[in-house]
C-alpha cells in the first residue's frame, strides 16, 4: 500500500486530464501494464555463427509477419477495416528488406540478431520520432512494436502481456501497441488510460472500434497512479480519476446510467417506421459502400439504401468487373433488403482515382473533370454492363438507379435512353428484368438551378450535400483552412436545396438527401421543413435520426 493513504487515513482521489479518445465511462480495478524494458538475451555471437543466426532472424520475421497478417485478415473479415490495416502495415514493416539488410550488417559484425533488430528498430524509430508531423511521430511506436516482437521471437521468450487479465479492469499503461490490445481476453478491458498517444494513435482507434472508453495522453501523471486500486474513466470528457471517493463514484454511476438510458432510448427507435410527430412518413436509409455492409445496416434499422456506391466494384483491382459480377452484387443487396428500396448510384470516379484499362487522361481539377455521368455517357463499355446488371438484379428486389454529377437535362435524357435501350435488348433476348426508377443526384449548382427541367424527366431527386456544398461554395472540402465554408447550412446551399424541393413538389416526385447533412441532428429539421422525405446516412446514425424525426 502506498504511503499517502497511510498518512491521510483514506485515499485522496487524483485527477488525470488527457485526450478524449473513445467515448463512454467506466469504473473498475486498475491493471497497470508496465512491461520491463526489452533487453536482448545476448549481445554478441561467435564467429562462424553468422549464417545460422541470420537464419534465426529470418524465421522469426516469418513467424511474426505471419501472425500479424493473420490477425489483420481476421479483423478484415469481421468488418474492422481500420484495425485490419494497422496489422497489415505492421506485417509489411516486419518483412521490410531494409530491416533485414540493416540486421545482416550488424550480425556480420558479430552482434546478436536480437540486439541487432532492436538497434535497427530504434534507428528508424528515432527518424520518425523527430518528424514534426504528430501522425508520423506516432509511427515510431509501430516500428518499436514490430522489432520488439521479432526480438522476442528470436529469443524464444514469452513476455507476460495483457493476456493474463482475469478480472474486468481498467488498463493503465505508458502506451499500448496493437499487439497488446489484441491479446486482451474478450470483455476484460473496461477502459484504457495511457500516458502517451493522441486521437489517431492505435489504442484510440482500437478503443473506439471495441466500444471501450479511453483517455490517452495524460502524460507523466500516470506514474503517480499506477498503484491505485480503482480508477474511473470518462472517455467522453477526457479525464480519469484514480481512487475516486464515494461522491465521484456516484457521479460516474449517474453518467453511466445516462449513457445507458440514451442508448436504450435510441435502441427503441432502431426498428420503428420513421415518422414526424404530425405523422409525415420519412424514410430513413443507409449509405453503403459495399454489399457486405447490407446486413449490418438492416440491424441498425435501415428502411432502405439511399446510396449504394458502386465504385468499390471497380477500384483496387486489375480488371473491370463483368456484368455478371456486378449483377451478383446488386442482386445480393436487393434480396437482403426485400421490398425496401435500394438505390444504386452508377459509377462515380474521376481523375483522382484510376480505373483499370480506362485512359482518364491527366486532369488539372479532377473534381471539375471527366467524372460521374460525364464519363459514363462517353464509355458505353462501362455504362451499359452496369445498367444491364442493375436491370437484371431488379427482378429480385426493389432497385432504383441514380446518376451522379448531372449538370444538364440533356445528360439525364441521354442516360435514360441508354437505360431504355438496355432494357429493350434484354427483354428481346428473353432475359428477366425488373422495374427500375431512374433518379438524378442534385450535387452541382447547375442541377439545382435547373431542377424544374430535371424534375420532368426524373423519378426522384437525391441531394448529395457534400459535393453540392463544395461546388456551391467553390471550396475544396479537403482544405482545412476553408472549414468555415464547409457547412450544408450555408444560406446559399439551403436556397439551392429549397429550389430543388420546390421543383420536385411541382412535378410530383420525391426528394432524398444522401450527404453528411442527412444524419446531422442540427440539419434534419431544416431538411424536413424544405420538403425532403428520405434521409440516407451512415447506418449507425439511423436510430438517432429516427428519434429526432419523431420529435418534429
Amino acid at each position: 500500500m502506498s504511503t499517502r493513504d497511510e498518512a491521510a487515513g483514506k485515499l485522496e482521489p487524483i485527477r488525470l486530464t488527457g485526450i478524449a479518445a473513445a467515448e463512454g465511462v467506466a469504473v473498475g480495478p486498475v491493471f497497470a501494464h508496465v512491461p520491463g524494458e526489452l533487453k536482448p538475451g545476448r549481445e554478441h555471437i561467435l564467429e562462424g555463427a553468422v549464417e545460422a543466426e541470420m537464419e534465426r532472424f529470418r524465421r522469426a520475421v516469418e513467424v511474426v509477419a505471419g501472425q500479424l497478417s493473420e490477425v489483420g485478415e481476421r479483423l478484415g473479415e469481421s468488418g474492422s477495416g481500420e484495425e485490419a490495416a494497422i496489422f497489415e502495415a505492421h506485417a509489411e514493416i516486419a518483412g521490410d528488406p531494409e530491416l533485414e539488410s540493416g540486421v545482416e550488417e550488424r550480425v556480420r559484425n558479430l552482434q546478436s540478431p536480437e540486439a541487432a533488430v532492436l538497434a535497427v528498430g530504434e534507428e528508424y524509430a528515432d527518424v520518425f520520432a523527430a518528424m514534426e508531423d504528430e501522425y508520423m511521430a506516432a509511427r515510431a511506436d509501430d516500428v518499436r512494436d514490430v522489432t520488439g516482437q521479432i526480438a522476442v521471437e528470436i529469443m524464444g521468450r514469452e513476455v507476460a502481456g495483457l493476456e493474463v487479465l482475469e478480472t474486468p479492469s481498467v488498463v493503465l499503461a505508458r502506451s499500448l501497441a496493437p499487439s497488446d490490445t489484441a491479446r486482451i481476453p474478450r470483455g476484460m478491458a473496461l477502459g484504457f488510460v495511457t500516458a502517451e498517444g493522441s486521437r489517431t494513435s492505435h489504442v484510440s482507434i482500437m478503443a473506439r472500434s471495441m466500444d471501450i472508453p479511453a483517455v490517452v495522453g495524460v502524460g507523466a501523471a500516470l506514474d503517480g497512479v499506477l498503484e491505485a486500486r480503482f480508477v474511473a474513466v470518462d472517455g467522453t470528457e477526457g479525464y480519469a480519476v484514480a481512487d475516486p471517493g464515494p461522491e465521484i463514484l456516484a457521479e460516474f454511476e449517474s453518467k453511466k446510467e445516462g449513457i445507458t438510458a440514451e442508448r436504450a432510448a435510441l435502441e427503441e427507435f432502431k426498428h420503428v417506421e420513421a415518422r414526424t410527430r404530425d405523422g409525415r412518413r420519412i424514410e430513413v436509409s443507409a449509405n453503403l459502400g459495399s454489399a457486405g455492409e447490407a446486413e449490418g445496416a438492416l440491424a441498425w434499422g435501415a428502411e432502405g439504401v439511399g446510396l449504394f456506391r458502386s465504385e468499390f466494384l471497380f477500384m483496387e483491382r486489375a480488371k473491370l468487373p463483368t456484368e455478371d459480377e456486378q449483377y451478383e452484387v446488386y442482386r445480393e443487396v436487393a434480396v437482403t433488403f426485400g421490398e425496401r428500396p435500394v438505390i444504386i448510384r452508377t459509377l462515380d470516379v474521376g481523375g483522382d482515382k484510376s480505373l483499370p484499362g480506362v485512359d482518364q487522361g491527366e486532369e488539372e481539377n479532377p473534381f471539375l473533370g471527366w467524372r460521374g455521368i460525364r464519363m459514363s455517357l462517353d464509355t458505353p463499355e462501362l455504362f451499359e454492363p452496369q445498367l444491364r446488371a442493375i436491370l437484371r438484379a431488379a427482378a429480385h428486389g426493389n432497385l432504383k438507379v441514380m446518376f451522379p454529377m448531372v449538370s444538364d437535362v440533356g445528360e439525364l435524357r441521354a442516360a435514360k435512353e441508354v437505360l431504355a435501350r438496355c432494357r429493350e435488348r434484354l427483354e428481346g433476348d428473353g432475359v428477366e428484368v425488373g422495374v427500375v426508377d431512374a433518379g438524378v443526384m442534385i450535387e452541382t449548382p447547375a442541377a439545382a438551378i435547373c431542377a424544374a427541367e430535371l424534375a420532368r424527366e426524373a423519378a426522384f431527386f437525391s441531394i448529395g450535400t457534400n459535393d453540392l456544398v463544395q461546388y456551391t461554395m467553390a471550396a475544396d472540402r479537403g482544405n482545412e483552412r476553408l472549414r468555415h465554408l464547409r457547412g450544408a447550412d450555408h444560406p446559399a446551399v439551403l436556397k439551392l436545396i429549397g429550389e430543388a424541393c420546390g421543383a420536385a413538389r411541382e412535378a410530383g416526385i420525391w426528394v432524398g438527401v444522401c450527404g453528411e447533412a442527412a444524419g446531422d441532428p442540427a440539419l434534419i429539421p431544416t431538411l424536413i421543413e424544405l420538403g425532403v422525405t428520405e434521409l440516407s446516412m451512415g447506418a449507425s446514425a439511423i436510430p438517432r435520426a429516427k428519434k429526432i424525426l419523431s420529435e418534429l
Binding site: 502495415a89 531494409e98 483522382d352
Partner: protein
Amino acid sequence: MNTMEELLMVERETTVGPEEGLHARPAARFVHTAKQFSSRITVSKDDREANAKSPMKIMSLGAKKGEKVFIRAEGDDAEEAVEALATLISARG
C-alpha cells in the same frame, strides 16, 4: 547496372496526391505495388533516396501532399513499374 547489357532505366517526377502524404497506409499500398515488379525501384525527395520496396524507408522520406518526388526504376519491367507507381502516388487516395 548489369555487366553485359544496359538495363532499361525509366524515371519520372510526380506530385504526392494523398491528403496524409506518403504515410503509413499510402506507403503500405505503394510498397505493396512496388513489390509486384522485379525492377530495382527507388523514390527520391530532395537529396534523399529510398528503396521503393521498404515501407520504413518510404515513410522516412516524410513526403507530404503536393511535394515532388522522383521515381526511378531499373529492370525489365521498369516502364510498367514507373507508370503504375506514378499513378498511385499522384492519386488523391
